[in-house]
Symmetry: C2
Subunit: 442 residues, 2 copies
């Protein structure tokens, strides 16, 4: 049963020979150009194909190629960046400069996206000068060990895509390609990983070489075989970890091809959103504002922080958030809040000191002169006016005082929209909201 | 200033000579009848005037007289009750039998209410057979010591009446007359008590003879001078204790005659109740049902228990009670609830086990098949339908399952009314609700 399913999946996701040949020729061509250009500049550098293409663990239709320019470790950081970019730009015709730990070049070669990344060609993984220098060692390690297991990696990656846990970017906090490959090495097969995962506990530790020294307590620890101080699964959050366990169990119980493919969600219509809200009896509040062109790995951690801070602020004022989510799209972000308690009375109780604490009692009475004051359980209680009786008013007045993070705070101060229920549908987040209601909350 | 005020108050509350003469003549007449009737029945018994009338600490207009029939301690309990009631009934023309620890007679003599209570004439307070036997000892103790301080007692009682803390009945949980007298003995004057009270802490201990052995921790402990194992202030609740402290402090700061007299509260009108509710943004729910003719000291503890149990049930279902109170009047009771959160969405989250607890996880998923299910913070969360989205519906369906106490449960099962907002005004609790809003919540 499972074999039949994985066979069918493989047929769909394994690149054809033609696809492989075209991609390999393109990659080799770029490598040669890097070598040649390096020589022209008189630099002792060469190109190296890394990532899933190098390891034959890429999926049909994948148009991403990762190529590293290996530069001498004797260079200064500035020299590395200077020469690396010089070479990369020389060989590319259509490109843009991007920035991770170092700057790199994102280039277009036909319909392929090629990242060309300069790095130090250190002799040993323990000598790396920045995180990118580790990649060639990962590459070598996997290439040495993965032979014959490539299809298993493909299946695992695809299964993780289907469960929404594939990708270590900070937006998703899931499993990286390298982590998938290592899991296959550890458990021998796709099914081996799935069967193991269905029994995982929080703090699961995997150490191929048994020499890891990892001391934190994330949900999953996979000691990097090329660097025993590093956890390859550091990015995996408790929720992607849990989702993977859950998906593994479900798949083993009821194997189905559907697990390998993301369910497509249709954007929500105005009529449907209204119906959902009325059926659920909740109230939707959306905060929408513009952001400049920044990469997701910088934007999303700030968005998550802002979401948390806003939910905390709302709850602290006596309201209650039922569910929330964030999304960024085309330089616009949404903080989406579904409210459980969105309206409150105009009064609230302010509990003061015990009556027997004379000095504090006198201060409290002085401070609340004019407000109703009575004694409950031996303490003074004053009834005071609630400043915000609707969560909408609260956000209108207090949003900019939330700890939104330095950058978001500036963007929000430039202006934001506060939208109630279906008003949000003018803003272009119909698919995101559809996902919230269809996939997450049904 | 204070002397001027207390002087004026005394003028109003001190019985006139005429009033005293009329009352003393009536009391003496009853005592003589008791002695005579006892002889006729061949019983070695006599009457004793006790209470505030006996100690000259009663207030003008007070029409209550307490008279004890002192019977030989050699009698059996049944004999005491038999002969006691026989004598009491013989001398009364208009009376009813009432019941505390023993049965007693509540009689009308003109426009005076006279309680005639049989008790054992024990030699020593340590030999008492029931709580009522202690009263003659209290009486003797106060009569021996109070001479010259009667006016101070009158002032203190009246001040406590004005602050709503006078009376040890279970409805009020305040200060008894005997406790007022003892406080005057301890602190020498009305002002002495008030000044001391303004500094009291919870657990305040007063022991005239310094031989008390009281080990519990109520707000106030006044060791009974006639029985060192007894706390005269056992009935005083944390709230009446606190209210008295608060009133004492306020009076000392701004002395005013008003402190001695209860503010009269006018019944709330429909228009005003509607206005209050709308101004406060709350919702009022009243539970009204009939009760048989039972004494307040039995009814009120049950009502308080029921109130607590209902508030707990409501809060446990996600709603929130802002304030509540109970009242009994003319064989009808009301449990009055002012709601802070009275409506909730149709859905709620049901948080399940961590994903990693495999067996519990499988059970949870099985149980919630068909409901939306997702993972939050590593735990399964199911969205389930909230059975009651309005506190009114909740009470309609769940009230009879609350721990209302054995008696109230029966009465509620016989039928109750659930009234929303101003609907309650048909039930005759206008003054009670007026007090809730005017005095307590302004």
């Amino acid at each position: 049963m499972i074999e039949k399913i994985t066979g069918e999946v493989l047929k769909e996701i394994k690149p054809s020979s033609e696809e492989k040949i075209i991609l390999c020729e393109l990659a080799n061509d770029i490598l040669k150009k890097i070598d040649k250009t390096s020589k022209e500049f008189g630099i002792d550098a060469f190109g190296m194909l890394v990532g899933s293409v190098a390891r034959d663990t890429w999926t049909a239709g994948d148009k991403d190629i990762d190529i590293f320019i290996m530069l001498p470790p004797s260079l200064l950081k500035e020299e590395l960046e200077h020469y690396g970019l010089l070479i990369a730009k020389k060989i590319s015709s259509e490109y843009e400069e991007r920035y991770a730990e170092h700057p790199y070049i994102h280039a277009k070669f036909g319909n392929y996206d090629v990242d060309i990344v300069p790095c130090f060609n250190v002799k040993d993984a323990s000598k790396i000068k920045s995180a990118v220098d580790r990649t060639p060692f990962h590459n070598s390690y996997i290439k040495e060990h993965i032979l014959g297991l490539e299809d298993e990696v493909l299946l695992l990656k695809q299964f993780m895509r289907g469960s929404g846990v594939y990708g270590s970017e900070l937006k998703l906090k899931g499993f990286s390609g390298y982590l998938c490959e290592l899991l296959i090495l550890r458990f021998g097969s796709f099914l081996g990983v799935i069967e193991s995962a269905s029994e995982w506990k929080y703090g699961k530790l995997i150490d191929l070489k048994k020499k890891g020294v990892y001391s934190e307590s994330p949900p999953l620890i996979f000691i990097d075989p090329v660097d025993p101080k590093r956890n390859v699964a550091a990015a995996v959050s408790i929720d992607t970890f849990s989702k993977f366990i859950d998906a593994s169990r479900s798949f083993l119980k009821n194997p189905d091809k559907d697990y390998f493919f993301t369910k497509s969600v249709s954007p929500i219509s105005k009529k449907e959103l209204k119906k959902r809200i009325s059926q659920r009896g909740t109230e939707v509040v959306s905060i929408v504002f513009d952001v400049p062109d920044i990469v997701d790995d910088i934007l999303y951690p700030q968005l998550f922080k802002a979401e948390k801070s806003i939910v905390y602020m709302i709850d602290r004022h006596g309201f209650k958030v039922f569910g929330s989510d964030v999304c960024a799209k085309e330089n616009k972000v949404i903080i989406f809040l579904e409210m459980e308690i969105f309206r409150l009375p105009k009064i609230k109780k302010h509990v003061g000191p015990p009556v027997t604490s004379k000095n504090r009692a006198i201060d409290f009475i002085d401070k609340h002169k004019g407000s109703p004051l009575y004694i409950e359980d031996g303490k003074y209680v004053s009834e005071i006016e609630r400043k915000y009786t609707d969560v909408f008013d609260l956000l209108e007045n207090k949003l900019i005082f939330c700890a939104l993070g330095k950058n978001l705070n500036t963007y929000v101060k430039n202006g934001y929209k506060l939208l109630r229920n279906e008003e949000v549908l003018k803003e272009g987040f119909e698919a995101f909201i559809g996902t919230y209601f269809h996939l997450k909350h049904f």
